[in-house]
Symmetry: C3
Subunit: 333 residues, 3 copies
């Protein structure tokens, strides 16, 4: 592919040798002479000077930073992502149903869909055009997988769920298992049937071993363009707004409503029945205990220190109240 | 089903129109006119006044709160759970073994059990009467699944484990993988064979992608009526008492013994070799570092604050000891 | 097996009745008279006096602690681990490919390897001599599984990954799923193709439901002898040095480099793009926010307290800065 070809497909403006042939992408440090890289962070300007990359995508302010053949784009990182997609297209869909798959007679598989080995598709389920269902996936009754979605191997989707179009689901994901709902009764726990569904919008991605529980009576819903990393737990009856991103190991308890364009850092924990407003940012490991009503960044993690310092300092956390009172008394003296 | 039918099956006392026909359950907010709801929390009394629900389950103190056809029960929430079960019976078991399943000749499958597609059952394993083993489950050698238990798709149970009766296991659960046991030797780690089992009692539920490791030499044991949410990790040689509930993302290190009727909030972490007494309550995200010998609630999570406040405050945690000493000095002056 | 046999296989020095016949291992508390136990911690000397164990492995300082037939070893715990391995050999490999497995014509399976039921092996994949691939495993195109490695049931390894020799992988593990990489663009997220691989060395172990993401452009690499517990998340482009151990529920964000012989406690969280030096020890639940350049122990978890104390104390954390300033003012008065 020539630099010119990229421009013609993705827009932007070329500078320098537009017929530079390119075979792939790379980082500033490791891109080969036949690869294109990008400069989004001014800190890497110096590194670019010594980069072997054959071409570079730069922002409007960096047009003159290099003599390399280059593409000028308003958002060089996003442009780079699209270039990388061009050089690394998702594995194509091979239409057809593997002979080992068990497809209920009452399911509908689009003729352009791919169903791999050891897949089970239940009665009334629908697999959309161009969708790919990887080996060992289990699709419950009446569940709908939208057109162009791609399930990696070993995904389970329980009955009655709806997955939008172009959704990517990684291996080990479980969608639609029962939410955690029990009524206490004389020291025992009576199960409350979880009769809601999971509804996921278009263009989402769910990382490996993530779980999204079905609603108790209403549904659990995830909007469009939501990106969820690995090992995230979404409790029953949660709603997650469009284009929100959730990093790995996050836990969200039931009935919490998360807005649009929210960013949640890794291993954060959010208790149930909260509202998190649009555009909120929650730092890694933060424990969210109340609703968040103003955009902004919220944090509570305690950074590491040497164990010696920790031993000295942490003992006072258990005594902060006494410390504060002593201070108050000392001030009154 | 008529209101009267519910009373005749579940007890309680009817008030108002006992021949009210009902087709399902709902929340106070969303129940339709042909559905029954419940009132357990006094805060919802007002909402009940405007609810469309055709009937309601109320406690003894709320008999006069509404004119709707109603059932008076000592524990309206538990009563509601049972009503919801009546309206939403668990999917029936279809006795038989799918032709794709691989059942070792030395395994025993009860004639009333259901074995779905792509299931593997090892030598000497026993699947009890009315048990259901979902698609893609792998049951190890000599493992016993009790009568009436239901394994969702893609559950792994290693060899030699015992699952009680009426246990519900969700997709992605792994029971009986090796515990994490290694002896250090000259900078390397020598594996200690994990030869214990996992023993799970009756009426338990394990959520999606939860893991319970087998014991090192003795067993890991879970009592009766224990409810475990998604993505929980139970280390080797733990014991968990009857009717304990564990919310999502909790991690319990090895050889910790947890009593009966304990409640553990989401994302709590419990270190190994502790004893947690009966009826203890551990709040979400709490880090349990010592044994708990008195019932009560235990907590350590730091609630979120704005990142700006966090930057100002957290720096002092690293200096609490100096702060405390300065206070002491100032008091002595 | 006689005590003498152990000595002849594993070295060490015998004391007492060397022809003592033994059938297995046990703890000091539960070992039967025909079993061997070990004494590594001086605290258990008293317990040994009343132990039923027929023999014991002791350190050089404990030769005279007991009259039991005994083996004297420099490292009694590691010696015990090796004895336990002798008594409990790993389940043998049964060479052959189950008839239900789907093996691409372009894959190569060593004649001594075992491929269980419902396994899928993609084009160009290589399964080494004596390797075992458990039921329901999915091995992607061009992935290599080294000789003697053992994959439990339901493991997914995506395309192009390399697993070393004698690696143990537990059920539910996902290796090589896409890392979490997106470029923001006008409020949406553009996927960056994850074209790196996962490379795992020899003699590693990965616990149930652990996930290791493939690199974005470069690889994610795990060295030799690394032991990872259950439900651990390793982000894209991480590197983990030889003989490092990682306990359950740990999350490591992308591009973090962890040295050799590091020990990471359960539920610790490590942010991305850090360097953790060799021999660092990170306590359970610690939040690592900066690179660690000196060996030693690092900690930040807050231990539990009663909820009542927590209510009193934690309020001050949100006001620590004011407290500190008040103290400063009081000192200046």
């Amino acid at each position: 592919m020539l630099l010119l070809d990229l421009i013609s497909k993705l827009g932007g403006e070329a500078q320098g040798e537009v017929s530079q042939p390119l075979v792939g992408v790379g980082t500033i440090e490791n891109a080969a002479a036949n690869c294109i890289t990008f400069l989004a962070n001014p800190r890497y300007r110096t590194a670019l000077a010594t980069s072997s990359a054959g071409a570079v995508i730069v922002g409007l302010k960096d047009v003159e930073v290099t003599d390399k053949p280059r593409i000028v784009a308003a958002n060089p990182y996003a442009y780079f992502a699209r270039v990388a997609q061009l050089f690394n297209p998702a594995r194509g869909v091979v239409a057809g149903i593997h002979s080992s798959a068990v497809i209920h007679a009452g399911a509908w598989i689009a003729p352009t869909a791919e169903i791999a080995e050891f897949v089970s598709v239940g009665r009334g389920a629908i697999i959309g055009e161009g969708a790919r269902v990887g080996a060992g996936c289990i699709i419950g009754e009446n569940t709908v997988i939208g057109a162009g979605s791609a399930l990696s191997a070993r995904v389970t989707i329980y009955a009655d769920c709806r997955i939008g179009e172009r959704v990517i689901v990684h291996s080990g994901v479980v969608i639609g298992a029962d939410g955690f709902g029990f009524a206490p009764d004389n020291g025992q726990w009576i199960k409350i049937p979880q009769t809601g569904r999971v509804i996921i919008g278009d263009d989402c991605e769910l990382g490996a071993n993530t779980t999204v529980d079905r609603g108790a009576m209403d549904d659990t819903t995830i909007g469009n363009g939501v990106k969820i990393d690995n090992q995230v737990q979404v409790g029953h009856n949660c709603t997650i707004g469009d284009h929100t991103v959730i990093s790995g190991c996050v836990g969200i308890a039931g009935s919490t409503h998360i807005g649009r364009h929210v960013m949640i850092g890794g291993a954060a924990s959010i208790i149930g029945h909260l509202h998190i407003c649009d555009d909120a940012i929650i730092s890694a490991t933060t424990f969210v205990t109340k609703s968040i009503t103003e955009p902004g960044t919220y944090t509570s993690g305690i950074p590491h220190m040497t164990h010696r310092d920790w031993l000295k300092n942490t003992v006072h956390i258990r005594n902060l109240d006494r410390l504060a009172k002593a201070l108050k008394n000392s001030g009154e003296k």
